[in-house]
């Protein structure tokens, strides 16, 4: 299987290099053929590996590819760990990437950077596969930063736009803040285990958890808590958890295909994947899990609220992504790793679908993204309309869709988790995910109705050109709509309760909430028939009904409500003032420190006073000395007499 794994990883890299370096020679057709061929190959092989492992009963494999370096007994390697968690991620990543590649032919049709774009997204597929297939922390970090690099390049793909190059710098720097914690976490892992290899590190988890470290003098921290929190800071950057979420909405400056691929389906879920992968560590630190669940809950609820006031079609979906990532993080904190990964998978399909559908609308609207200038598009774009509807229903967890199974069980897992009865943490987490359901339904269908229903608010010129997008765009929509609608039915049982992940995910027995729920599991039909008894269902319906009332029946109301609660509206509109804090606060503050150190430290103190000051002093002293060297005989004679007198005096009186 080794050659299969290598092919899966290297085919997109090879295609990226060819399309990137020789794009001008092979032309547009050559560039998209080779990259699509390569990612298609990866996709097919990934599904084969998935099939072998799940139905063929193949054992997980842990293979070293080459030794990157060895120093001081620390082996730094590049290698693959292909287990049941990995194969699922490989299948999701390559499938969505494949769809996005095809879609890109249509979306980037007229763009002069066509070959460059294909090169970048193929490079991304390679990086993401390196990340999920890694068997050690070094390669994990490589993949982690490499996807960050490609994200940077793609957000700034249209590099002439000031907003795009601002957004990509912001994304990279905010991610680097997360990586700052991440690399310290890796350093802590090495400190306590002496290894970067997953298997070795996980094997020592228990001993590590028994140690403590004095971060601040006099206050010992549990070593595992320190490791897990530091690693989680990395996840907060990559998976855009509050307060490091600010880069994701701005990343929408990039072309829509990459918003779907990178900033919805795959890269941003790397943090979720990482924590699940590290479950053998997180399970040993309740404190770290508490941090995880609270951060996730805050993100899930408060970022969802922001989706209600956005008017840019892509930004609404972006805030929705933030909120859903929060859901997954909450599941991680509740030790329901399987539920998090399951939601990650269904979310990858329906969120990629929603982004690509939004992109389809944007193409048809000639790159207009303001939903206030849309409306009634339903009749012009039937395929986009129906697929969007499926995506939106899956997002709000409408019974029967993929999102229903993953979200319903996620919330159930939080409700029954070991945090139950633990006070504030429990209520923050549970209420957030519960109320978030209402919010999700409200913002999703607000957007849906404003775009597809109601009055046609675009100008005449645009309206006359409105029509359905070409097949390269709509086929991926349909291909993604199918799993969004159906995949829950036949995967929910096996993935969550059938021991799908095997040994890949470790949950401490007393916390294994999914096993607990599994005892009462009666198949997807059972869940569906009981859904009307759950608050989740009624909250989702409530949100949907509110959207129907406000945006279909009484479209005059939203403006009135907005006027009534202006303070709240401003708070949401300004995104809780995070951007102001970071840009006017931290960034300006950093530049201020830089200027102060440079002008006062380097130029004034070191150069001015010390270096040139010394030079000047020497010069002045020399000037004084020069006065003595007057060249007049009588001055020298006088000096001699004075000197002689003093010398004699000293001899007489002091000796």
């Amino acid at each position: 299987m080794y050659s299969y794994y290598l092919t899966i990883v290297l085919a997109p890299l090879f295609a990226a290099i060819v399309a990137g370096l020789f794009g001008y020679k092979i032309g547009r057709k050559g560039a998209h053929s080779i990259t699509i061929g390569a990612v298609g190959l990866s996709c097919v092989l990934s599904f084969y590996v998935l099939y072998r492992m799940y139905w063929g009963g193949a054992e997980p494999e842990n293979i070293s590819v080459y030794t990157w370096a060895v120093s001081d007994g620390l082996r730094m390697e590049v290698g693959f760990l292909v287990d049941r968690l990995t194969v699922l991620m490989m299948a999701v990543v390559t499938f969505v990437s494949f769809m996005v590649h095809i879609y890109t032919i249509g979306y980037m049709h007229d763009d002069p950077g066509y070959q460059r774009f294909f090169s970048y997204i193929s490079l991304f597929t390679f990086s993401m596969l390196m990340l999920v297939m890694s068997n050690n922390f070094l390669q994990l970090f490589f993949g982690w930063e490499a996807v960050g690099l490609v994200s940077y390049l793609l957000i700034g793909f249209w590099f002439k736009r000031e907003t795009a190059i601002f957004a990509n710098l912001k994304a990279f720097l905010v991610n680097r803040v997360g990586d700052f914690g991440f690399i310290l976490g890796i350093a802590a892992v090495v400190m306590f285990t002496g290894s970067l290899d997953y298997a070795t590190v996980f094997g020592q988890a228990e001993e590590v958890a028994a140690q403590s470290v004095e971060v601040f003098p006099g206050s010992p921290w549990n070593a595992m808590t320190l490791i897990c929190i530091l690693l989680f800071i990395g996840a907060m950057g990559k998976s855009a958890q509050a307060p490091l979420h600010v880069w994701l909405p701005d990343s929408m400056e990039g072309p829509t295909p990459i918003s779907a691929l990178i900033h919805a389906a795959t890269m941003v879920t790397a943090g979720i994947f990482m924590v699940a992968r590290m479950s053998p560590l997180y399970e040993f630190s309740t404190t770290a899990l508490a941090v995880v669940i609270v951060i996730g809950a805050i993100t899930a609820f408060f970022m969802g609220l922001l989706g209600i006031v956005q008017n840019d079609i892509k930004r609404v979906v972006a805030y929705s992504t933030l909120s859903q990532l929060g859901y997954m993080t909450v599941a991680l904190g509740a030790s329901a790793y399987g539920a998090a990964i399951f939601h990650l998978m269904t979310h990858a399909f329906f969120k990629a679908l929603l982004f690509l559908a939004a992109g389809s609308v944007i193409i048809a609207m000639h790159h207009e993204q303001d939903i206030r200038k849309m409306g009634g598009i339903r009749k012009y774009m039937p395929i986009t309309y129906w697929t969007s509807l499926i995506g939106s229903l899956a997002l709000i967890g409408f019974p029967g869709t993929a999102g229903f199974f993953s979200k319903d069980l996620l919330i159930e897992a939080v409700r029954d988790s070991h945090w139950h009865g633990e006070g504030a943490v429990y209520w923050i987490a549970y209420l957030s995910v519960l109320l978030g359901v209402f919010v999700t339904a409200l913002y999703s269908f607000r957007m849906f109705f404003l775009v597809f229903h109601g009055e046609e608010r675009m100008d005449k010129e645009t309206r006359s050109h409105l029509h359905e997008t070409p097949w390269v765009v709509t086929v991926p929509l349909v291909m993604l709509a199918i799993p969004s609608l159906a995949i829950g039915w036949f995967t929910v049982g096996p993935v969550l309760f059938g021991g799908f992940f095997g040994d890949a995910i470790f949950v401490e027995h007393s916390r294994d909430v999914l096993a607990h729920i599994g005892e009462h599991w009666h198949g997807p039909m059972g869940l569906l028939t009981h859904t009307w008894q759950t608050p989740v269902f009624w909250l989702a319906m409530g949100g949907l009904a509110t959207a129907v009332y406000l945006y279909l029946l009484r479209p005059d109301l939203p403006a009135k409500i907005k006027a009534k609660v202006e303070g709240l509206y401003n708070l949401l509109d300004r995104k809780y003032y995070f951007d102001d804090l970071y840009i006017k606060g931290f960034a300006a503050w950093g530049r201020g420190i830089g200027t102060a150190l440079w002008k006062h430290g380097d130029q004034f103190l070191i150069d001015g006073v010390l270096v040139n000051g010394t030079a000047n002093s020497v010069g002045k002293l020399a000037g004084v000395m020069r006065q003595l060297q007057s060249g007049y005989l009588y001055t020298y004679a006088f000096a001699m007499i004075i000197g002689l007198t003093m010398f004699l005096g000293w001899l007489i009186w002091f000796r």
Binding site: S71, L74, A146, L149, F159, R176, I186, A187, G601
Partner: protein
Amino acid sequence: MVDNLLSVLIWLPIAGGVVLLAMGDGNDAASARANAMRWTALAVSVLTFVLSIGLYTGFDTTTAAMQFVERAPWIDAIDVWYYLGVDGFSAPLILLTTFITPLVVIAGWDVIKTRPAQYFAAFLILEGLMNGVFSALDGLLFYVFWEAMLVPMFLIIGVWGGERRVYATLKFFLYTFLGSVLMLVAFIYLYRLTGSFDMGRWMEVPVSLTAQKMIFIAFLLAFAIKVPMWPVHTWLPDAHVEAPTGGSVILAAILLKMGGYGFVRFSLPMVPDGSRYFAGMMIALSLIAVVYIGFVALMQKDMKKLIAYSSIAHMGFVTLGFFIVWHMFGESGAVLGVSGGMVQMVSHGLISGAMFLCVGVLYDRVHSRQISDYGGVANTMPVFAAFMVLFAMANAGLPGTSGFVGEFMVIIASFKANPWFAFFAAMTLVLGAAYTLWMIKRVVYGEVANDHVATLEDVNRREFIVLGILAFAVLLVGLWPAPLIDMMEVTIQHLVEQAGQTKY
């Protein structure tokens, strides 16, 4: 195999330089004679590099002993020897020197309009002297090479430099000279103690603690100025700004490494107790370099100054890696730190060299180094933009490039020494990305900013070759640093033992 390989690597380029000086170019850069001189310089530097590969292929990675040793009496009266040899510290740095010099020759090819023969001669002679510094095992021989190196560099900045070159050269010369004079005093003290200039003897001889402290201070001034460490760093930005591109490249890529090399060759093994005594201070200065200089670099308006400050911050990792040794005796981590510092030196040589060459490419076209004079370069120079973004990412320590390797190893090792060291060191992840990529944003991206940028032509074949070779090297070291690290590992283990001993 070449006998006396080290001597060849020293004297071949120097001889080539002398020939160039003797032939001259008739003061006409366009003449056939000047052209012949260019080709001669290139041939000599490439030949030197090709020969130096023997240093890699013939290197025994299993021993910490000196290899390729040459020894002949030089001044019998005071027991001075012409004594050369390399170990895991010096061999990679010699390879770096012989690798960078041909690139500098190509980079200066038709850019240097005045006295090209002398220009190339200065670089060839400098190359030989630098190889001499790295291979000398006799204290006095080392000192001679060390000081002689200043002369060609002084001329390179003073003759082919920018407007304020006189100020910059004087500052550069006085700063570094001040340091080395004290080093000479320490050498003489050690000579009086041992009756020999053999550096191996100096490592073994017991020295009282007080004397060790004073020797350490004397060494410190010499090496800290070269590195340069905060607060004796202010000569570097001025020197870089005024130096011609090739001068900046050599200065950043090789000359700064002299300081780091000095610490591992002299301070740590010769005065281990003195080094231990001052280790805390050295770590503090290193971390100040990373954080303080990181902030200063952020606000630079001149690209060369920005890269110069970034060099200082990166070199902070080198000294940090070296001086955390004393926090980890008897445990693993000490070797990792020193190893990381050494890798950082080699990597910084490649990346900073590449960055200065990138600025040189722009300067040759627009004659400005100010960030504000650019914007949207990617529109007119797409190939160049790809290179510059790659090197910028390497400068920001992206995994897969050489810039990551050393930083990663030092951060891992320093966390073990004290998590707070790693905390401050890791701030470079944010600061390094901020100052480098902010510059990229303002220079490379955006709309075409002005007429100069609108008429820019992309890199020519000559520039493409130079940048391409460096890009290859940066990626190679980043993706597979094992050969480089293996070369140094045993030597570093030996050094850590030496540094751990008490010798008073």
